[in-house]
Protein backbone atom coordinates (compact mmCIF):
# COMPACT_ATOMS: atom_id res chain seq x y z
CA UNK A 1 0.00 0.00 0.00
CA UNK A 2 2.85 2.40 0.89
CA UNK A 3 4.28 1.85 -2.54
CA UNK A 4 1.05 2.31 -4.46
CA UNK A 5 1.64 5.97 -5.32
CA UNK A 6 5.35 5.71 -6.26
CA UNK A 7 4.57 2.59 -8.26
CA UNK A 8 1.74 4.34 -10.12
CA UNK A 9 4.05 7.30 -10.85
CA UNK A 10 6.79 4.96 -12.01
CA UNK A 11 4.44 3.16 -14.40
CA UNK A 12 3.02 6.44 -15.72
CA UNK A 13 6.50 7.85 -16.39
CA UNK A 14 7.63 4.58 -17.93
CA UNK A 15 4.66 4.66 -20.29
CA UNK A 16 5.37 8.30 -21.21
CA UNK A 17 9.05 7.64 -21.89
CA UNK A 18 8.49 4.48 -23.90
CA UNK A 19 5.94 6.36 -26.01
CA UNK A 20 8.41 9.21 -26.51
CA UNK A 21 11.09 6.75 -27.65
CA UNK A 22 8.93 5.69 -30.59
CA UNK A 23 8.63 9.29 -31.77
CA UNK A 24 11.31 10.76 -33.98
CA UNK A 25 12.35 13.96 -32.22
CA UNK A 26 13.99 15.27 -35.38
CA UNK A 27 10.60 15.57 -37.09
CA UNK A 28 9.27 19.00 -36.25
CA UNK A 29 5.58 19.56 -36.94
CA UNK A 30 5.14 22.46 -39.32
CA UNK A 31 2.97 25.37 -38.17
CA UNK A 32 2.33 26.06 -41.86
CA UNK A 33 -0.17 23.26 -42.46
CA UNK A 34 -3.54 24.56 -43.69
CA UNK A 35 -1.89 27.93 -44.30
CA UNK A 36 -1.49 29.57 -47.70
CA UNK A 37 1.82 28.90 -49.41
CA UNK A 38 4.10 31.91 -48.72
CA UNK A 39 4.51 34.07 -51.79
CA UNK A 40 7.89 34.16 -53.45
CA UNK A 41 9.58 35.49 -56.54
CA UNK A 42 12.77 33.72 -57.53
CA UNK A 43 14.86 33.15 -60.65
CA UNK A 44 14.31 29.93 -62.55
CA UNK A 45 17.19 27.45 -62.56
CA UNK A 46 16.82 26.78 -66.29
CA UNK A 47 16.73 30.46 -67.22
CA UNK A 48 17.76 33.00 -64.56
CA UNK A 49 16.01 35.71 -66.58
CA UNK A 50 12.72 34.03 -65.87
CA UNK A 51 10.88 34.50 -62.58
CA UNK A 52 9.14 31.71 -60.70
CA UNK A 53 6.41 32.59 -58.21
CA UNK A 54 4.08 30.60 -55.97
CA UNK A 55 1.61 30.66 -58.87
CA UNK A 56 3.68 27.94 -60.53
CA UNK A 57 1.80 25.59 -58.17
CA UNK A 58 -1.65 27.08 -58.70
CA UNK A 59 -4.64 25.51 -60.42
CA UNK A 60 -4.25 21.90 -59.32
CA UNK A 61 -2.72 19.98 -56.43
CA UNK A 62 1.03 20.03 -56.82
CA UNK A 63 4.21 19.17 -54.96
CA UNK A 64 6.87 21.61 -53.87
CA UNK A 65 10.12 19.71 -53.45
CA UNK A 66 13.11 21.27 -51.70
CA UNK A 67 16.37 19.85 -52.97
CA UNK A 68 20.06 20.49 -53.50
CA UNK A 69 22.76 18.69 -55.43
CA UNK A 70 24.72 18.41 -52.15
CA UNK A 71 21.90 16.44 -50.57
CA UNK A 72 22.46 12.69 -50.64
CA UNK A 73 18.89 11.88 -49.64
CA UNK A 74 17.67 13.90 -52.63
CA UNK A 75 19.51 11.42 -54.85
CA UNK A 76 17.67 8.62 -53.06
CA UNK A 77 14.27 9.99 -53.97
CA UNK A 78 15.13 11.26 -57.42
CA UNK A 79 14.13 8.17 -59.36
CA UNK A 80 10.75 8.15 -57.64
CA UNK A 81 10.23 11.86 -58.40
CA UNK A 82 10.91 11.01 -62.05
CA UNK A 83 8.26 8.31 -61.88
CA UNK A 84 5.72 10.71 -60.31
CA UNK A 85 6.44 13.27 -63.02
CA UNK A 86 5.93 10.60 -65.71
CA UNK A 87 2.55 9.86 -64.13
CA UNK A 88 1.57 13.50 -64.46
CA UNK A 89 2.13 14.77 -60.90
CA UNK A 90 3.22 18.41 -61.16
CA UNK A 91 6.35 18.98 -59.07
CA UNK A 92 7.88 22.39 -58.56
CA UNK A 93 11.48 22.34 -57.36
CA UNK A 94 13.06 24.71 -54.89
CA UNK A 95 16.83 24.53 -55.18
CA UNK A 96 18.25 25.39 -51.78
CA UNK A 97 21.75 26.33 -50.63
CA UNK A 98 23.26 25.10 -53.85
CA UNK A 99 25.64 26.06 -56.62
CA UNK A 100 23.52 26.67 -59.71
CA UNK A 101 26.03 25.02 -62.04
CA UNK A 102 26.09 21.80 -60.03
CA UNK A 103 22.28 21.92 -59.70
CA UNK A 104 21.94 22.08 -63.49
CA UNK A 105 24.52 19.31 -63.92
CA UNK A 106 22.53 17.18 -61.44
CA UNK A 107 19.33 17.52 -63.47
CA UNK A 108 21.17 16.80 -66.70
CA UNK A 109 22.69 13.66 -65.25
CA UNK A 110 19.64 12.27 -63.41
CA UNK A 111 16.77 13.76 -65.39
CA UNK A 112 14.51 16.68 -64.54
CA UNK A 113 11.23 15.76 -62.81
CA UNK A 114 10.31 19.40 -62.17
CA UNK A 115 7.81 21.56 -64.03
CA UNK A 116 10.14 24.36 -63.06
CA UNK A 117 12.85 24.82 -60.43
CA UNK A 118 13.14 28.08 -58.50
CA UNK A 119 16.54 29.00 -57.08
CA UNK A 120 16.39 30.16 -53.49
CA UNK A 121 19.43 32.38 -53.81
CA UNK A 122 19.42 33.80 -50.28
CA UNK A 123 17.67 30.93 -48.55
CA UNK A 124 14.81 33.21 -47.50
CA UNK A 125 12.00 31.30 -49.16
CA UNK A 126 13.18 28.12 -47.44
CA UNK A 127 12.97 29.98 -44.13
CA UNK A 128 9.48 31.27 -44.99
CA UNK A 129 8.55 27.64 -45.60
CA UNK A 130 10.08 26.49 -42.32
CA UNK A 131 12.49 24.23 -44.19
CA UNK A 132 15.33 22.87 -42.10
CA UNK A 133 16.66 20.03 -44.19
CA UNK A 134 16.44 18.54 -47.61
CA UNK A 135 14.61 16.86 -49.08
CA UNK A 136 11.29 18.19 -47.87
CA UNK A 137 8.12 17.92 -49.91
CA UNK A 138 5.01 20.05 -49.54
CA UNK A 139 1.62 19.03 -50.89
CA UNK A 140 -0.25 22.16 -51.97
CA UNK A 141 -3.86 22.14 -53.15
CA UNK A 142 -5.12 23.94 -56.25
CA UNK A 143 -6.00 27.01 -54.19
CA UNK A 144 -2.49 27.35 -52.86
CA UNK A 145 -3.07 25.95 -49.35
CA UNK A 146 -0.42 23.73 -47.79
CA UNK A 147 -2.04 20.37 -47.07
CA UNK A 148 0.90 18.34 -45.92
CA UNK A 149 4.64 18.38 -45.49
CA UNK A 150 6.88 15.35 -45.66
CA UNK A 151 10.44 15.46 -44.34
CA UNK A 152 12.89 13.02 -45.91
CA UNK A 153 13.11 11.19 -49.22
CA UNK A 154 9.83 10.28 -50.93
CA UNK A 155 9.29 6.58 -51.50
CA UNK A 156 6.45 4.65 -53.13
CA UNK A 157 5.30 3.63 -49.66
CA UNK A 158 5.26 7.19 -48.32
CA UNK A 159 3.40 8.24 -51.44
CA UNK A 160 0.79 5.51 -50.95
CA UNK A 161 0.38 6.01 -47.20
CA UNK A 162 0.64 9.78 -46.81
CA UNK A 163 0.04 11.52 -50.11
CA UNK A 164 -2.59 9.41 -51.93
CA UNK A 165 -5.22 9.57 -49.14
CA UNK A 166 -4.83 13.34 -48.90
CA UNK A 167 -5.01 13.74 -52.68
CA UNK A 168 -8.14 11.56 -52.72
CA UNK A 169 -9.71 13.88 -50.15
CA UNK A 170 -9.04 16.84 -52.40
CA UNK A 171 -11.49 15.30 -54.85
CA UNK A 172 -11.54 14.18 -58.47
CA UNK A 173 -8.77 15.40 -60.68
CA UNK A 174 -6.69 15.95 -57.58
CA UNK A 175 -4.28 13.09 -57.86
CA UNK A 176 -2.88 14.00 -61.22
CA UNK A 177 -3.60 10.48 -62.43
Amino acid sequence: MRFALPLALFIALGALFSFSLTRDASLIPSPLLDQPLPSFSLPSLADPEETVTEHALAGQPALLNIWGSWCAQCGTEHAFLMELARNGVPIVGLNWNDEQASARAWLERLGDPYVVTAVDVEGRVAIDLGVYGAPETFLVDGGGTIIYKYIGPLTPQVWRDEFMPRLAQLGPGGAGD
Binding site: A25, S26, G123, I127, G130, Y132
Partner: protein, 141 residues
Protein backbone atom coordinates in the same frame (compact mmCIF):
# COMPACT_ATOMS: atom_id res chain seq x y z
CA UNK B 1 48.07 8.64 -8.06
CA UNK B 2 49.21 12.26 -8.25
CA UNK B 3 50.37 11.73 -11.80
CA UNK B 4 46.99 10.45 -12.91
CA UNK B 5 45.30 13.33 -11.11
CA UNK B 6 47.54 15.82 -12.94
CA UNK B 7 46.77 14.09 -16.19
CA UNK B 8 43.05 14.45 -15.53
CA UNK B 9 43.48 18.14 -14.80
CA UNK B 10 45.41 18.68 -18.03
CA UNK B 11 42.75 16.84 -20.04
CA UNK B 12 40.01 18.90 -18.42
CA UNK B 13 41.85 22.12 -19.23
CA UNK B 14 42.34 21.04 -22.84
CA UNK B 15 38.66 20.24 -23.20
CA UNK B 16 37.78 23.62 -21.74
CA UNK B 17 40.16 25.39 -24.09
CA UNK B 18 38.84 23.61 -27.17
CA UNK B 19 35.23 24.45 -26.26
CA UNK B 20 35.96 28.15 -25.96
CA UNK B 21 37.88 28.15 -29.24
CA UNK B 22 34.72 27.44 -31.26
CA UNK B 23 33.29 30.88 -31.86
CA UNK B 24 31.29 30.82 -35.07
CA UNK B 25 29.88 34.27 -35.63
CA UNK B 26 33.02 36.23 -34.86
CA UNK B 27 32.47 39.37 -36.87
CA UNK B 28 30.65 42.17 -35.15
CA UNK B 29 27.20 42.63 -36.59
CA UNK B 30 26.48 46.02 -35.07
CA UNK B 31 28.62 49.05 -34.29
CA UNK B 32 26.44 49.88 -31.34
CA UNK B 33 27.39 47.92 -28.22
CA UNK B 34 23.83 47.60 -26.95
CA UNK B 35 22.59 46.32 -30.32
CA UNK B 36 25.49 43.86 -30.53
CA UNK B 37 24.70 42.56 -27.04
CA UNK B 38 21.04 42.21 -27.96
CA UNK B 39 21.97 40.38 -31.16
CA UNK B 40 24.18 37.96 -29.24
CA UNK B 41 21.37 37.34 -26.75
CA UNK B 42 18.77 36.77 -29.47
CA UNK B 43 20.79 34.30 -31.52
CA UNK B 44 21.63 32.32 -28.38
CA UNK B 45 17.88 31.85 -27.86
CA UNK B 46 17.13 30.41 -31.29
CA UNK B 47 17.60 26.73 -32.01
CA UNK B 48 19.53 25.65 -35.08
CA UNK B 49 16.86 23.41 -36.60
CA UNK B 50 19.29 21.27 -38.58
CA UNK B 51 21.50 20.54 -35.61
CA UNK B 52 18.83 20.79 -32.91
CA UNK B 53 21.02 20.83 -29.85
CA UNK B 54 22.87 23.97 -30.80
CA UNK B 55 21.71 27.55 -30.98
CA UNK B 56 22.16 29.46 -34.21
CA UNK B 57 24.87 31.34 -32.35
CA UNK B 58 26.92 28.16 -31.95
CA UNK B 59 26.31 26.54 -35.31
CA UNK B 60 27.98 27.09 -38.65
CA UNK B 61 25.30 25.18 -40.57
CA UNK B 62 24.05 27.09 -43.64
CA UNK B 63 20.56 27.37 -42.15
CA UNK B 64 21.96 28.85 -38.93
CA UNK B 65 23.90 31.37 -41.02
CA UNK B 66 20.74 32.31 -42.94
CA UNK B 67 18.73 32.60 -39.72
CA UNK B 68 21.37 34.86 -38.19
CA UNK B 69 21.08 37.07 -41.27
CA UNK B 70 17.32 37.20 -40.78
CA UNK B 71 17.74 38.23 -37.12
CA UNK B 72 20.23 40.96 -38.08
CA UNK B 73 17.97 42.27 -40.82
CA UNK B 74 14.90 42.39 -38.63
CA UNK B 75 16.85 44.17 -35.89
CA UNK B 76 18.05 46.74 -38.39
CA UNK B 77 14.45 47.20 -39.52
CA UNK B 78 13.56 48.00 -35.92
CA UNK B 79 11.70 44.81 -34.99
CA UNK B 80 11.23 44.05 -31.30
CA UNK B 81 12.47 40.83 -29.69
CA UNK B 82 8.88 39.58 -29.58
CA UNK B 83 8.39 40.31 -33.29
CA UNK B 84 11.57 38.45 -34.22
CA UNK B 85 10.57 35.46 -32.12
CA UNK B 86 7.06 35.53 -33.60
CA UNK B 87 8.55 35.52 -37.11
CA UNK B 88 10.55 32.37 -36.38
CA UNK B 89 7.71 30.73 -34.51
CA UNK B 90 5.29 31.22 -37.41
CA UNK B 91 7.68 29.27 -39.64
CA UNK B 92 9.35 26.71 -37.42
CA UNK B 93 6.96 26.46 -34.47
CA UNK B 94 7.69 26.75 -30.76
CA UNK B 95 10.55 24.31 -31.22
CA UNK B 96 12.72 27.01 -32.79
CA UNK B 97 12.86 28.88 -29.49
CA UNK B 98 14.77 27.67 -26.46
CA UNK B 99 12.19 29.47 -24.33
CA UNK B 100 8.87 28.52 -25.91
CA UNK B 101 5.93 30.72 -24.94
CA UNK B 102 3.45 29.45 -22.38
CA UNK B 103 0.47 27.85 -24.13
CA UNK B 104 -1.81 24.84 -23.80
CA UNK B 105 0.78 22.73 -25.64
CA UNK B 106 3.74 23.86 -23.55
CA UNK B 107 1.89 24.02 -20.20
CA UNK B 108 3.23 20.61 -19.16
CA UNK B 109 6.78 21.68 -20.02
CA UNK B 110 6.57 24.89 -18.00
CA UNK B 111 4.56 23.60 -15.07
CA UNK B 112 6.19 20.22 -14.54
CA UNK B 113 9.09 21.63 -12.45
CA UNK B 114 6.60 23.38 -10.14
CA UNK B 115 4.50 20.23 -9.88
CA UNK B 116 7.54 18.05 -9.22
CA UNK B 117 8.84 20.40 -6.51
CA UNK B 118 5.39 20.43 -4.91
CA UNK B 119 5.26 16.63 -4.99
CA UNK B 120 8.76 16.40 -3.53
CA UNK B 121 7.89 18.90 -0.80
CA UNK B 122 4.76 16.93 0.01
CA UNK B 123 6.80 13.72 0.24
CA UNK B 124 9.39 15.35 2.53
CA UNK B 125 6.69 16.72 4.83
CA UNK B 126 5.11 13.28 5.06
CA UNK B 127 8.38 11.51 5.79
CA UNK B 128 9.46 14.09 8.38
CA UNK B 129 6.11 13.88 10.14
CA UNK B 130 6.22 10.12 10.23
CA UNK B 131 9.74 10.16 11.67
CA UNK B 132 8.68 12.71 14.27
CA UNK B 133 5.84 10.39 15.27
CA UNK B 134 8.24 7.45 15.42
CA UNK B 135 10.52 9.35 17.83
CA UNK B 136 7.57 10.01 20.10
CA UNK B 137 6.78 6.32 19.93
CA UNK B 138 10.34 5.39 21.00
CA UNK B 139 10.29 7.90 23.84
CA UNK B 140 6.95 6.64 25.02
CA UNK B 141 8.16 3.03 25.04
Amino acid sequence: MIRSLMRAVVVALLIGASASAVAIDTERAFEDDAMQARYQRLIAEVRCLTCQNQSIKDSNAPLARDLRAVVREQMKAGASDAEIYAFLQARYGDFALYKPPFSARTALLWLSPVVLIALGGFAIVRVVRRRANMDIGVDGA
